[in-house]
C-alpha cells in the first residue's frame, strides 16, 4: 500500500519511520542525560516530529521548546543501529518552527545580524571583527566583565559577550593568497574553504592548514569569491537561504578544479558533505551537488591518508582531544585526528572522558540556549580537568571558543588548540 510521504515545510521526514523506538540512543543524548525527559531525547524528538508531520500534534510552546533544545550534535545518529537520519529530521522540524514561529523582534534582529548579513559577507564580518578588536583593546571589555554589567544583559547577549575571542592582529586576519604551491613531491591539488567566521577570528587556523598542506605535498587554491556554506542557516531553519548559499559555494569551488575541497571547521564540512541530499530534488543541481559533496574532506581525513611528511619537531606536552560533534558524529571521523597526534614526537595523548559529547557550542546554540550550553560546558570542563592535560586539542572554532571560555571561568591555564595548530608547531611554526 502506498503511503503519503511525511513532510514538514516541504522537506521529507520519512526517516521517522526508521525509528523502532528501541531507546538505544537515549543515554548518548546530552540533553536527555541532563534532563531525563523523554521529549528532550532523540526518541522523543523523533516521535514529536512524526506526530507533527502526521498532524497528531501541533507546534505548541512545549513542542517548540523541546525541539529547539536539540543541539543537533547527532550523537544519536552514531548510536542508532537503525540508521535514522536524525540530522535531516531536525532540520525539517526547525524549518517548520521558523515558518510558524518567526520569533520575537529581538530574536529576529539577532538572526538577521547573524545569518542575513554578516555570515554571507566576509567583508562586513571583518569590519565587525575590527569593532570587536577595538572593544577588547580599549579595555572596555575588561571593565564590562568586571562591572557585573554582563549578568544584567539579556541571556543571549551575555553569552555573546563571554564568547568574544581575543582577536588576532590585523595582519593575521588578512586573507590567504589565492594559490600556494606544494613543497616537495606533489600529491595533489586541493581547495580550502576558509569559512566565514573563522577566516576573520581564526585566520591562524587557515594559515596553519595551508602550511601543513604545502609541507605534505598539496598544492592549495583558495577561491577568493567564496562565501558562507550555509550550514548555520540550515540548522537554524532558514532553508531557502541555505539552498542559495550551497549553490554559490558549489559554483565557486567547481571553478577551482581541485581534487578535493578541504575544510577545517566541523559544521561546514558535515554540511557540505550533505549537499547531495540537500539539493537532491533540484534536477539542475542534484548531480553537481553529489559530485561536489563526494570531494569534501575534513583536514584530518586528508592528512591521515599517509604518514605525515617529516621532519617533525618534538612537542613534549600532554594533551587531550575533544571530538567536535560534526566531525565525529556528522562525518564519522574518530581515528584520524588521534592518529595524527600520535605522530607528533614527545606528545602524550590522554583520552578525554565523554570526548565525543557536545561542549554546548553547537553552532549558535550557546547564544540561543545559554542555560543548557552552560551545563554541558561545565560537564566538559570537568572532564578536561580530570585528565590533567596541558592543552585540549580539537578541530572546530566553535568548540575552541566555548571550551576556552569554560576554562577561563574556572581559572584554568589550559590551552585550547586546533589540531592544525599543534601540527604546525611540530613543523616548527
Amino acid at each position: 500500500m502506498a503511503h503519503t510521504p511525511l513532510t514538514l515545510r516541504g522537506l521529507s521526514v520519512e526517516g521517522v519511520n526508521q525509528c523502532v523506538h528501541c531507546g538505544l540512543c537515549l543515554a548518548y543524548c546530552p540533553t536527555f542525560s541532563e534532563l531525563g525527559t523523554e521529549m528532550d531525547s532523540p526518541r522523543g524528538r523523533i516521535f514529536m516530529i512524526k506526530a507533527l508531520a502526521e498532524g497528531r500534534m501541533s507546534l505548541t510552546d512545549p513542542a517548540v521548546e523541546h525541539l529547539s533544545l536539540c543541539l543537533d550534535c547527532r550523537a544519536c545518529e552514531t548510536a542508532c543501529p537503525s540508521g535514522v537520519p536524525y540530522g535531516r529530521l531536525i532540520e525539517a522540524a526547525k524549518a517548520e518552527i521558523e515558518r510558524q514561529r518567526p520569533g520575537g523582534a529581538v530574536r529576529r534582529a539577532f538572526r538577521w545580524l547573524n545569518f542575513g548579513v554578516l555570515l554571507g559577507h566576509p567583508k562586513m564580518l571583518r569590519a565587525a571583527a575590527a569593532g570587536l578588536r577595538l572593544y577588547q583593546a580599549s579595555g572596555l571589555q575588561a571593565l564590562v566583565r568586571r562591572s557585573g554589567l554582563v549578568s544584567r544583559l539579556p541571556g543571549t547577549l551575555s553569552a555573546w559577550e563571554a564568547l568574544l575571542p581575543s582577536l588576532p592582529r590585523a595582519v593575521d586576519r588578512a586573507p590567504l593568497p589565492a594559490h600556494i604551491p606544494a613543497e616537495g613531491e606533489r600529491r595533489g591539488r586541493v581547495a580550502l574553504l576558509t569559512g566565514c567566521v573563522q577566516s576573520v577570528v581564526f585566520g591562524a587556523h587557515n594559515r596553519a592548514t595551508a602550511r601543513i598542506l604545502a609541507k605534505n605535498g598539496y598544492e592549495l587554491v583558495v577561491p577568493q569569491a567564496q562565501g558562507c556554506c550555509g550550514a548555520l542557516n540550515a540548522h537554524g531553519g532558514d532553508h531557502a537561504r541555505a539552498l542559495s548559499m550551497a549553490k554559490e559555494t558549489i559554483g565557486v569551488f567547481e571553478a577551482a578544479r581541485a581534487d578535493a575541497v578541504v575544510v577545517n571547521t566541523s559544521g561546514c564540512g558535515a554540511h557540505m558533505k550533505a549537499y547531495g541530499a540537500l539539493l537532491a530534488d533540484d534536477p539542475a543541481w542534484a548531480g553537481r551537488a553529489r559530485r561536489f559533496a563526494a570531494g569534501v574532506q575534513d583536514i584530518s581525513e586528508l592528512l591521515a591518508k599517509a604518514p605525515l611528511r617529516g621532519p617533525l619537531r618534538p612537542a613534549p606536552m600532554t594533551v587531550t582531544y575533544h571530538d567536535p560533534c560534526h566531525v565525529v558524529h556528522g562525518q564519522k571521523i574518530r581515528k584520524e585526528p588521534r592518529q595524527l597526534l600520535a605522530q607528533v614526537p614527545g606528545l602524550t595523548l590522554v583520552e578525554l572522558p565523554e570526548a565525543d559529547w557536545c561542549c554546548g557550542s553547537a553552532g549558535i546554540y550557546n547564544l540561543t540556549q545559554p542555560e543548557m550550553a552552560a551545563r554541558l560546558l561545565a560537564r566538559k570542563v570537568g572532564h578536561v580537568e580530570s585528565t590533567g592535560a596541558q592543552a585540549v586539542v580539537t578541530a572546530n572554532p566553535g568548540c575552541i571558543l566555548q571550551i576556552q571560555q569554560g576554562l577561563r571561568e574556572r581559572g584554568r591555564d589550559v590551552a585550547v588548540l586546533h589540531l592544525v595548530e599543534i601540527l604546525e608547531k611540530a613543523y616548527g611554526g
Binding site: 519511520n17 526508521q18 523502532v20 538505544l24 525527559t37 523523554e38 543501529p81 535514522v84
Partner: protein
C-alpha cells in the same frame, strides 16, 4: 477508572510541583504523548502526569498522594521494556526515575555497589571498570536500560548462561511500598534472615512497589576472554551445535544465535564482521582463568565444526570482539533498517527442541504473511523471534498479535515458557493461562495483594484481563470482609 476533572488536575499538578519542584511535573498532553509507549510500540497508554522524583522521599510523597486520591501509578526507567510494563495502563501518574541515577557507594573490598534505580546498567560497569570490576547482568539494551527496570523484569542477557540473571546479583533494596512506606529488603550481606523478599520483589514487574536504592554485587573482570564466531549454512546445524557444546560439558559464558535477516541488518548498521550469506551464526564466549581457556576454545571450535559449521574463527583482539558484540546487542534496533516496526517474542524452550521450534516459528509467521528475524540467547533456550511489520498497513498489527500468540503456544507445548526475561507486562498478560492454572494465578494474585492491596501500583499488568481470564477461570483475589477487618487471615 474515573477521569480527573480539569480543576482536580490543576490542583494535583500544583501539589505535585510543591513536592518535587518546578520542571519535575508534566501534564501537557503533547508532552505526555511522548510517554505513551516503551520499546514495544504495539501498546499505548496515556498518563495524567509524568513526574521526576529525585529521592526516596519524593517517591514516597508522590505514592502517598496517589494512594490518597485512588490514582494508579507506575515506575518508569528508560522505557526500553518490551512488554509494555511501564505503561500507565489505567492512566494516573508515571514516576520517571531518570533523575535518580547516582552511584551512591562502591565497596570494592566487599564487591558491592549501592545505586539509584535510574542508573543506566552499562554506566555502573563504566564506573567500576577502572578498578577491574563490572556488573555482570548484561541485557542487550544495557547501554540504555536502568538497573531499576532490570530489577523489575529480572532481566537477563547473553552472559546469563554462566552468571545468572539480575536476581542473582541483588543483595538489598530500598523500596517505597504501594502505600508510600519506605522499607529495606535484604541489605549488604549475601544472606539475610527471614524470607527471601529480594527474590520475591525482583521480577515483580513494578507491581510490588518502587525500588529507590539497590545494592548489587560487582564482579572482578575475568582474567581471560575468548570469543568464537561460528558460521553455518543451515539454521538446524547451528541449533545442533548449541546442544553439542553443552553436551560436551563445556560451560561458555554466552552462546548467542543470530540469523541471516538479522545479520543483514546489523551489518548495514555497523559492519561488524558477520558474513551476510550465512544462514545463521553463533557467537560463543568463554571467560575465566587464562589457564585452560585455549583448550576450551579448541573444544568449542570442534563442537561447531562437528555440527557442520562452514567457518569458525576467534576474535583476534578486543576491538574485533567488541564489534561482534556491538552487532549482537544492537540487533533489535537494527531491524529498523528492514522494517518500520517489530514485535519481539520472548519464549523459553528446552534447548533440544530448538530446531523444531524455529521451524514452527517460520511456518507460523509465513502463514500470517509476515517476516521474522531471530537473534537470541541460544544457550539458555531463550528465543527472540522478532516479527516484522508495518503499523501503517491496516490489519497487520492484528496478524502480528495472532502469530505471536501461536508462537507462545508452541513454546508452552514443548514444555517451555512464554517469557524468558522481558516480562509479562501488558503484552503477555492474556497468555498467562497457557502456562498457569487458575489456582496458580489465584495464588500469585494473593502474593500481589499482600504487597499491593489497593492494586494502584502498576495495574493492568501480568494477570489476564477479566474478559480473557474467564476462559481460564482465574478470578482476581478479593479479601473477604472479615479479612478486611483483621479478624481472619487466609493462607
Amino acid at each position: 477508572m474515573a477521569t480527573l476533572t480539569a480543576d482536580r488536575k490543576r490542583a494535583l499538578r500544583t501539589e505535585l510541583e510543591g513536592m518535587l519542584g518546578r520542571g519535575a511535573v508534566l501534564s501537557d498532553p503533547d508532552e505526555l504523548l511522548v510517554y505513551e509507549s516503551d520499546g514495544l510500540t504495539l501498546f499505548r497508554a496515556l498518563a495524567d502526569f509524568v513526574v521526576f522524583p529525585q529521592s526516596a522521599e519524593h517517591v514516597s510523597a508522590v505514592v502517598k498522594l496517589a494512594h490518597r486520591e485512588g490514582l494508579p501509578f507506575v515506575a518508569r526507567g528508560a522505557g526500553t521494556g518490551l512488554s509494555g510494563g511501564c505503561l500507565p495502563a489505567e492512566g494516573g501518574i508515571v514516576l520517571s526515575l531518570m533523575r535518580m541515577n547516582r552511584v551512591l557507594e562502591v565497596d570494592y573490598d566487599n564487591q558491592l555497589a549501592v545505586v539509584e534505580p535510574g542508573l543506566v546498567n552499562l554506566h555502573l560497569s563504566w564506573k567500576v571498570g577502572p578498578k577491574g570490576y563490572y556488573y555482570a547482568p548484561d541485557p542487550s539494551s544495557q547501554q540504555a536500560c536502568t538497573i531499576g527496570g532490570n530489577i523489575a523484569n529480572n532481566s537477563g542477557g547473553p552472559h546469563t548462561l554462566k552468571y545468572g540473571v539480575t536476581t542473582n546479583h541483588v543483595l538489598g533494596l530500598e523500596v517505597v511500598m504501594p502505600d508510600g512506606e519506605i522499607v529495606w529488603l535484604g541489605g549488604k550481606t549475601r544472606e539475610s534472615q527471614g524470607y527471601d523478599l529480594i527474590g520475591v520483589f525482583v521480577g515483580s514487574e513494578g507491581t510490588f512497589g518502587i525500588a529507590t536504592k539497590i545494592v548489587v554485587r560487582i564482579l572482578k573482570k575475568p582474567q581471560a576472554v575468548k570469543t568464537v564466531l561460528a558460521v553455518f549454512d543451515e539454521v538446524d546445524q547451528a541449533s545442533a551445535a548449541v546442544s553439542e557444546i553443552i553436551a560436551r560439558g563445556l560451560v561458555p559464558a554466552a552462546v548467542e544465535m543470530i540469523d541471516q535477516l538479522t545479520i543483514g541488518a546489523v551489518e548495514d548498521a555497523f559492519g561488524c564482521g558477520y558474513p551476510r550469506d550465512a544462514a545463521a551464526a553463533l557467537l560463543v564466549e568463554l571467560d575465566g582463568l587464562a589457564i585452560g581457556i585455549e583448550t576450551q576454545a579448541e573444544r568449542i571450535v570442534a563442537a561447531c565444526r562437528d555440527s557442520g559449521a562452514r567457518e569458525v574463527r576467534t576474535a583476534k583482539d578486543e576491538a574485533e570482539r567488541q564489534l561482534l558484540w556491538k552487532g549482537r546487542k544492537s540487533a533489535f534496533g537494527a531491524y529498523g533498517r528492514v522494517s518500520p516496526a517489530y514485535m519481539v517474542m520472548d519464549g523459553v524452550i528446552p534447548r533440544t527442541r530448538l530446531p523444531y521450534v524455529l521451524r514452527r516459528v517460520n511456518e507460523i509467521v509465513d502463514a500470517h504473511g509476515l517476516r521474522v528475524g531471530n537473534v537470541f540467547h541460544a544457550g539458555d533456550g531463550n528465543l527472540h523471534p522478532n516479527i516484522l511489520y508495518d503499523p501503517r498497513k491496516p490489519g497487520e498489527e492484528a496478524r502480528v498479535v495472532a502469530a505471536g500468540a501461536e508462537i507462545m503456544k508452541v513454546c508452552a507445548e514443548v514444555g517451555g515458557s512464554i517469557s524468558g526475561e522481558h516480562g509479562i507486562g501488558l503484552e503477555k498478560a492474556d497468555f498467562m493461562p497457557f502456562i498457569f492454572s487458575a489456582a496458580d494465578l489465584a495464588l500469585m494474585q494473593r502474593l500481589k495483594h499482600a504487597f499491593n492491596p489497593q492494586g494502584l501500583c502498576n495495574p493492568g499488568k501480568v494477570f489476564p484481563t477479566r474478559k480473557s481470564c474467564g476462559e481460564a477461570g482465574a478470578v482476581a483475589y478479593r479479601p473477604h470482609a472479615i479479612e478486611e477487618q483483621g479478624l481472619a487471615q487466609r493462607f
